[in-house]
């Protein structure tokens, strides 16, 4: 038995301990309501948070939260003012003048100036930076020469008339210039920061932001943590205090975390669970058209597809695209009878002339064309179809292979390759015959889809080279009037479609799960969702 004195001492110590612990209970409540935190899923780590070294869609998502260009987009995809609050264009469309808003600031309080944009755009095109998207601004004066090393970056057609005025001179009228200037590669970087820290200016402790949020920390493979940038010119409108971009490479993992309530926004939805998700979360599932096309391309430099447009058309005709989008991908994708996806600004895509026929009619036409090309049951067409290793790609390839066999007696051998291997083969053009590929638009203009089919374009995988197509594109580039330009672009697409260098199969959709707590989500064709447009309200509260 312990003595009374001992017991008293113990009691006092216990009471003291309880009092101390009690103190720490309510600490976070001091100073107002808790911070609102948005948890979003990100498909992969950004390559870098240096806007000139980044290139993936995932990097763009983070960059759009921690930076801002001259222009930006609203939640529903309309062009709005960004760092620039006013701009004018000359009558010939070759000179654009931007006014930088007075209250544009970096997260350390420094003003955002026109000089910084000059510095940044020069850095973008400087060969030493080796920026992936340097060529994106090729319409600006001298960019092509600078990238090739023939001129120094100082010759770039971008100058600062004064601290608040930026003047951009173009090689040709570029109606999508404003759209380009929303792209993260054109965001400003802070020259002083680069001078002080060198390459390490991207470290979270050094990085300055001119966007709605700043980067607090980055655990590679895990999470990027952002918090409100009080110096942002529009900070008063930013509702959410902190954003966590969780790096989740597996779609299933992301879905599980959403279901467990750990994420409020997902970047995607796994195809296998799609039906279940649609049943369980009908109001939270957001499917919207996305500027991307899924296609099979032909290697036009070698037989049997070289100089054989009828054969290519036959293969395109025999595919029942409705079966593909309904039964195989089944997430609301649209069958593609055009090259340019629907929803592009100021453009009405052309369509294959067989777009409205029944599949039976198309099949009959395909058989005729195949016979004309010299292939019969005892002389079947044989070739290899390459695609990158993935469940979805494989299912589509199997379906198409079966359709070709059924309708035309074609024997397509399926070869799956790891993504990088397929890319290397497509670029080399030596072994490929038919290959699976896709193209996602960089900006909201038909040009981003049509330009890659110009002869000599590095992303022109089929090696399509049509004098007529190039001519239409060239004439489109000369037009200042958007209506006339549109006519030439549409004509170019018509030429492209009738030549069949590619078989577009379907257009992408963006798919997200968005919690009912999130307010302000806008579906748009570029799939841009800036965190600054969102707010968190508990479900059930009136917005």
């Amino acid at each position: 038995m312990i003595s009374k004195k001992r017991a008293l001492v113990y009691l006092v110590i216990l009471a003291a301990a309880v009092a101390v612990v009690w103190q720490y209970q309510g600490v976070p409540q001091v100073g107002g309501p808790a911070a609102s935190v948005l948890h979003r899923g990100l498909s992969t780590d950004p390559e870098s948070v240096d806007p000139h070294k980044a290139r993936s869609v995932a990097a763009g998502e983070v960059l759009r939260d921690i930076g801002e260009g001259l222009l930006s987009y609203s939640a529903t995809g309309e062009l709005v003012a960004g760092v620039a609050d006013e701009w004018t264009a000359s009558d010939d469309g070759l000179i654009y003048t931007f006014h930088i808003r007075e209250d544009a600031r970096w997260s350390n309080g420094d003003a955002v100036t026109a000089e910084q944009f000059v510095f940044s755009l020069r850095r973008l095109v400087d060969p030493a930076t080796a920026a992936f998207y340097a060529g994106m601004v090729a319409d600006i004066n001298n960019v092509t020469e600078i990238i090739a090393g023939d001129l120094p970056p100082e010759e770039l057609g971008v100058i600062a008339a004064d601290e608040r005025t930026l003047v951009i001179t173009l090689v040709r009228p570029t109606p999508y210039l404003l759209s380009l200037l929303t792209f993260p590669s054109t965001f400003p970087v802070h020259p002083g920061s680069i001078a002080t820290h060198g390459e390490a200016f991207t470290r979270a402790e050094n990085l300055l932001s001119n966007g709605a949020y700043k980067l607090d920390s980055w655990e590679p493979g895990s999470v990027l943590s952002l918090s409100r940038n009080e110096q942002y010119w529009n900070n008063a409108v930013t509702a959410i205090d902190e954003v966590q971009h969780h790096v989740l490479t597996q779609e299933m993992t992301e879905l599980n975390r959403y279901r467990a309530g750990e994420l409020q926004v997902t970047g995607s939805v796994p195809p296998d669970s799609f039906e279940k998700v649609r049943e369980d979360y009908p109001d939270e599932l957001h499917i919207a058209p996305y500027l991307g096309v899924y296609y099979y391309g032909f290697n036009l430099t070698k037989p049997p597809f070289k100089d054989n447009p009828e054969l290519r058309e036959a293969l395109s005709l025999a595919i029942d695209r409705d079966v593909l989008v309904e039964s195989i991908t089944g997430r609301g994708e649209a069958a593609a009878y055009s090259w340019v996806p629907p929803g592009v600004d100021n453009y009405a895509p052309r369509r294959f002339n067989y777009a409205d026929q029944t599949q039976d009619e198309r099949n009959a036409h395909a058989r005729r064309l195949l016979a004309e090309a010299g292939y019969y049951p005892n002389n079947p067409l044989r070739f290899e179809l390459r695609y990158n290793t993935s469940d979805t790609q494989q299912r589509i390839a199997l379906a198409v292979q079966a359709m070709w066999k059924d309708v035309l007696g074609v024997e397509a051998t399926l070869i799956n390759e790891e993504f990088q291997v397929l890319l290397a083969n497509m670029r080399a053009g030596a072994v490929t015959q038919v290959f699976r590929s896709s193209w996602i638009g960089d900006y909201n203009d038909a040009h981003t889809f049509l330009s890659i089919m110009e002869s000599g374009n590095a992303s022109n995988m089929p090696r399509y080279a049509s004098v007529e197509f190039d001519e239409q594109m060239r004439r489109a580039a000369e037009q200042v009037d958007p209506k006339r330009r549109r006519l030439f672009l549409e004509e170019a697409e018509r030429v492209l479609l009738s030549d069949h260098p590619v078989i577009p199969l379907y257009f992408y959709v963006s798919k997200h799960l968005v919690s009912p707590d999130v307010v302000g989500w806008g579906d748009n064709v570029l799939d841009y969702h800036y965190s600054q447009h969102l707010s968190l309200a508990p479900a059930g509260a009136t917005p």
Binding site: H39, D45, E47, S48, V49, D50, K53, R55, P127, A128, T129, A130, A131, F132, A134, G135, I147, A148, G149, T202, R203, W218, E219, P220, G221, S222, V223, Q244, H246, V247, L248, T249, Q250, M252, T253, N256, R257, R259, A260, G261, E262, E418, F419, Q420, V421, L423, A424, N425, R427, S437, S438, W439, A458, S459
Partner: protein, 282 residues
């Protein structure tokens, strides 16, 4: 060898203009002849510099490994510990109650652990315990403390629990049948004392031999578990590195693993000496 895989770290559907590609490759020393690259890498390695990552361009390989290794170590270490404790206990119990329902149940579970792959067990655990019951976190990032380790460690340890249980059971049955155990029983020692002081150590020898392959299994199994739970461990970075053709990252992790395996084998050899006095006497 790493260069033998087709494709490079800067490939993408958007093809780089040739001048940009040249500038990038020059910056990363990829345009030098292969043997030159090899020598440069070695000379940097000796100084402790594993180079920049080609894919994670804001981070060096050393930094990535430095962040990832403690995570993988904790995960693998806890899994190994759990596997040994539960496995040995289960195997011992099964051996002592040989051929009873307890033995059969324990061994039945063991069989499941061996035959059901990790990438089935882990998602099922997540679905049940994290999504439906919400007892534990479904993922790693943004969660704190030990609770986010529970599911991954269980998923990783389960197959090893199974193997170790079976090994222990067989080995324990053998040892319990040997002469010196009969002597101890004849001297009046109770079962628990016999197991604790006389039977456990020799019965552990096969388990110890299994440690080498077990650690290897945990390392490789951790890749799957890391992917499923989104854990930034070495396994994840290794796979990403290979798929992204991130040469320096892959090389760095291979060298790291190799060093680790050599060290662990040494430890296991030393442990033999500790546990088995017959070896010590040599």
């Amino acid at each position: 060898m790493v260069h033998a895989a087709p494709g490079g770290p800067f490939d993408d559907e958007r093809v780089l203009p040739p001048e940009t590609r040249q500038a990038l490759e020059a910056a990363y020393n990829l345009d030098a002849p292969l043997h030159q690259q090899f020598l440069d890498y070695l000379s940097n390695l000796v100084r402790g510099d594993m180079g920049p990552s080609y894919r994670y361009r804001d981070h060096t390989v050393g930094e990535l490994i430095g962040n990832a290794f403690p995570v993988s170590l904790k995960l693998g270490g806890m899994a190994m510990l759990l596997a040994i404790v539960v496995g040995v206990t289960a195997g011992t119990v099964a051996a002592l109650r040989r051929n009873t329902w307890l033995d059969r149940t324990v061994m039945g579970f063991a069989m499941t652990g061996i035959s059901v792959p990790v990438f089935v067990i882990a998602p099922v655990l997540v679905l049940l315990l994290a999504v439906k019951m919400q007892w534990l976190p479904a993922g790693w990032s943004g969660n704190e403390g030990l609770s986010r380790f529970v599911l991954p460690v269980i998923a990783l340890a389960l197959p090893q629990v199974a193997y170790i249980a079976r090994l222990t059971r067989a080995s324990m049955i053998d040892v319990l049948a040997s002469d010196f155990i009969r002597t101890a029983r004849a001297q009046g020692l109770g079962t628990s004392a016999i197991v604790r002081y006389h039977a456990l150590k020799p019965a552990m020898l096969p388990v110890l031999s299994y440690m080498g392959p077990a650690i290897a299994a945990i390392l490789t199994g951790s890749v799957v578990v890391e992917e499923i739970f989104g854990i930034p461990g070495l396994g994840q970075f290794f796979v990403r590195g290979a798929l992204n053709r991130d040469y320096t990252l892959v090389l760095g992790i291979v060298i790291f693993y190799a060093t680790l395996v050599v060290l662990l084998n040494l430890v296991v050899d030393l442990l033999y000496g500790v546990i088995d006095p017959r070896i010590r006497r040599r």
